[in-house]
């Protein structure tokens, strides 16, 4: 018997839950200029989530999936991307989308039941939110192939959940990306839950990063609540991809502090006490402690930021509520580049019967 292959999975954390440095920091983590925008982005996302949930409760938007507790993942990754890179998000990645320049108003429109929310004014090429779990990994691999074929120095970055790693699309796409040595980064937001299914019931593996071994690509594990670790890993993976080094899988370990979505009641399947305990690991507090140590943060700044975020979200909500409802005719717009004559009669029937535009969700 001979051993023909050996593998290992490494885990990285720079800041512990209290914000103490437990591993020598990478260059950027000493620089407030780099860290402050990350801190702001995480706070903004959290402010947005609180508001969005309130809007759902009052019937102003539909079902919504918050990123509570997982802000460091989207922020840490998106901040490591270049403008020309491509974001391929799932439905829980607005933290990353906002960093990319998607407007909060657009996000509200989407969750409010209006397709115009996916017509991003900012990152025109980024893919829209993907709801069918794991399918987006295939799209990211295909886009990455296009970049490589055209010789563009661009990287496709996609997100998936712990549950999503059970789906065939994830493995097939990872394998394609690996065979193609495509500029692809797959970030797994391991928030420990797939609705009610806990991580151990999702896969018998001890890590999710090790799934990369099935495709022969690098798989790393980071503390997903340590934005420094997330950003560092993302930057390495993205630049590796840009340099022709092929795909990387990053498992970011975090915890879903909220319900799965506003349609979910997590108390049905998990102990609130455990969730409470998980609050001690959340990502914002530890970065704040680090910033304070760097002398770059104080309660005054915190207060200003809180107001700034609240105002920005308020403005976005006003913008959202001010958008006139879509017209029924929109149903036949952008279905094809030009509507086939065969469909004109259906459109006319619609217009003859449809009451004016749809109301809020």
């Amino acid at each position: 018997m001979a051993t023909v292959a050996r593998f290992q999975v490494d885990y990285t954390r720079f800041l512990d839950p209290q914000g103490e440095v437990v591993t020598p920091l990478p260059e950027f983590a000493h620089d407030p200029e780099v860290l402050l925008p990350l801190y702001r982005a995480m706070q903004l996302t959290r402010t947005f989530d609180t508001k969005a949930i309130a809007l759902q409760r009052t019937g102003k938007i539909g079902t919504f999936a918050s990123a509570l507790g997982q802000e460091a993942i989207g922020v840490g990754v998106a901040s490591a991307m270049r403008k020309e890179d491509l974001l391929v998000p799932s439905y829980r990645d607005h933290a990353a989308q906002f960093v990319r320049g998607v407007a909060m108003t657009e996000s509200l429109l989407y969750w409010g039941g209006d397709e115009r929310g996916s017509d991003f004014a900012g990152p025109r090429e980024d893919l829209p939110v993907c709801v069918p779990i794991a399918t987006q990994i295939c799209h990211a691999a295909g886009a990455a192939y296009a970049f490589k074929l055209r010789g563009e120095a661009r990287v496709a970055v996609c997100f998936i959940g712990d549950g999503g790693t059970s789906k065939g699309d994830f493995y097939e796409a990872m394998n394609f990306g690996a065979v193609w040595q495509a500029p692809l980064v797959i970030v797994v937001n391991n928030n420990q839950w797939a609705i009610s299914v806990p991580r151990p019931m999702q896969s018998a593996t001890s890590t999710l990063a090790q799934k990369a071994i099935a495709a022969g690509i690098e798989g790393v594990q980071v503390d997903g609540n340590d934005v420094v670790a997330v950003h560092d890993a993302a930057r390495r993976a993205i630049e590796k991809g840009r340099g022709g080094g092929g795909p990387t899988l990053i498992e970011a370990i975090s915890y879903r502090l909220g319900d799965h979505t506003t349609a979910d009641d997590a108390t049905r399947y998990r102990d609130p006490a455990v969730v409470q305990e998980q609050w001690t690991f959340e990502p914002i507090r530890r970065l704040r402690a680090h910033l304070v140590r760097l002398g770059a943060w104080d309660p005054g700044k915190e207060e200003l930021l809180a107001k700034e975020c609240a105002d920005a979200v308020e403005q976005a909500v006003e913008g959202y509520l001010a958008v006139p409802p879509p017209t029924p005719a929109a149903m036949f717009e952008h279905l094809y580049r030009t509507l086939p004559p065969a469909l004109e009669q259906q459109r006319d029937t619609l217009l003859a019967f449809a009451p004016d535009g749809g109301g809020h969700a």
């Binding site: 079902t63 039941g113 709801v131 009451p355």
Partner: protein, 326 residues
């Protein structure tokens, strides 16, 4: 008799058959501890154990594929696909295996599985949660496709589906899950598959529909009654195999037919019914058949979904049109 809504009736039918038949197992995402995102399986894991009410990993292909293996090995799996928009990855196992295992082995093996999924729109759900895939499955030889339209029919038809020795696609209208309650004798009595149910008899026009659209269809019939138009209403219930005899007999009396469904029009199942009328009922038709359906557009997000769904207005207008027909 308990008053149950449709999703409660589904739950009772599952419970009844699991209690009767130890070979019945349920599998799907979040169906155990959580009782299903629509609560269709609530309480069943506590009662029958995690071995028979399986919270699976997140993978629809394997949910269908392992169900095929379970069925081939003698179990009666009832698999849940959480929302109809995620049913597409099951198609390969359903058409290539479930639907033909008996045929391929000349009856040596069989595949008595049920694939349950909520279906249709109207509850302001997120993207991909409101699809109506019945016509896709209706095209696949070897399957049964069943769509209940009331709590009592959901109860009786689901029991029949589980007891059926062949694979059944059971699509539950999400919009009806909690829309109304009905007395359902939880007595294990199944309803017959492969037959239509005539919900109301009438002499002027035959309205044919299934699932949630029957709700608007009945409202339209009520409105028409005000105008003195007596509409007969047929709930197709089992789309495949289709009980065309009942529809033909009705149209032979009324001479007019309006078919209502929520799925996209082109190649929707209404086409099959209208085609049969053109083939076998032509001489009874006093006026063109009318289809009132979802449009051939993507199911819109929630703000426009009610403009997409067949409305009472549209059905009434279609009936008026057939009545004008010579």
């Amino acid at each position: 008799m308990p008053e149950l809504n449709l999703v409660e009736a589904v739950n009772r039918a599952l419970a009844w058959e699991m209690a009767q038949d130890p070979s019945v197992v349920l599998l799907g995402e979040d169906i155990g501890v959580n009782g299903g995102v629509f609560r269709a399986t609530v309480g069943l894991q506590q009662r029958f154990g995690a071995g028979r009410v399986i919270d699976t990993p997140l993978a629809e292909t394997a949910i269908a594929g392992t169900a095929v293996g379970m069925a081939a090995a003698g179990l009666k799996p009832v698999a849940e696909i959480q929302f109809s928009g995620f049913i597409y990855p099951t198609i390969d196992h359903i058409i290539n295996h479930a639907a033909r295992l008996r045929y391929r082995t000349r009856g040596r093996l069989s595949c008595p599985l049920v694939l349950r999924s909520p279906s249709g729109g109207g509850i302001h759900a997120p993207e991909h949660h409101s699809e109506s895939p019945e016509a896709l499955f209706a095209h696949m030889p070897g399957l049964r496709v069943v769509v209940p339209s009331s709590p009592s029919r959901a109860y009786g038809l689901l029991l029949a589906a589980i007891r059926d020795p062949d694979p059944v696609i059971f699509l539950e209208p999400t919009r009806l899950y909690r829309l109304f309650k009905q007395e359902v004798a939880d007595d294990g009595e199944a309803l017959p598959l492969d037959v239509c149910f005539t919900l109301r008899s009438g002499t002027d026009v035959t309205l044919v529909s299934w699932g949630a659209a029957l709700h608007e269809t009945q409202a339209a019939a009520d409105a028409l009654a005000q105008e003195g138009v007596a509409a007969e209403i047929i709930d197709v219930a089992t789309l495949k195999p289709l009980d065309m005899a009942t529809i033909l007999e009705s149209v032979a009396r009324t001479g007019r037919c309006v078919i209502v469904h929520e799925a996209a029009r082109t190649s929707g199942f209404g086409a099959e019914i209208a085609a049969n009328l053109a083939e076998q009922g032509l001489y009874s038709l006093l006026a063109p058949v009318q289809r009132v359906t979802g449009y051939d557009t993507v199911m819109p997000l929630s703000r426009l979904e009610y403009q997409y769904l067949p409305s009472v207005q549209c059905i009434v207008a279609a009936v008026r049109k057939t009545l004008e027909g010579a």
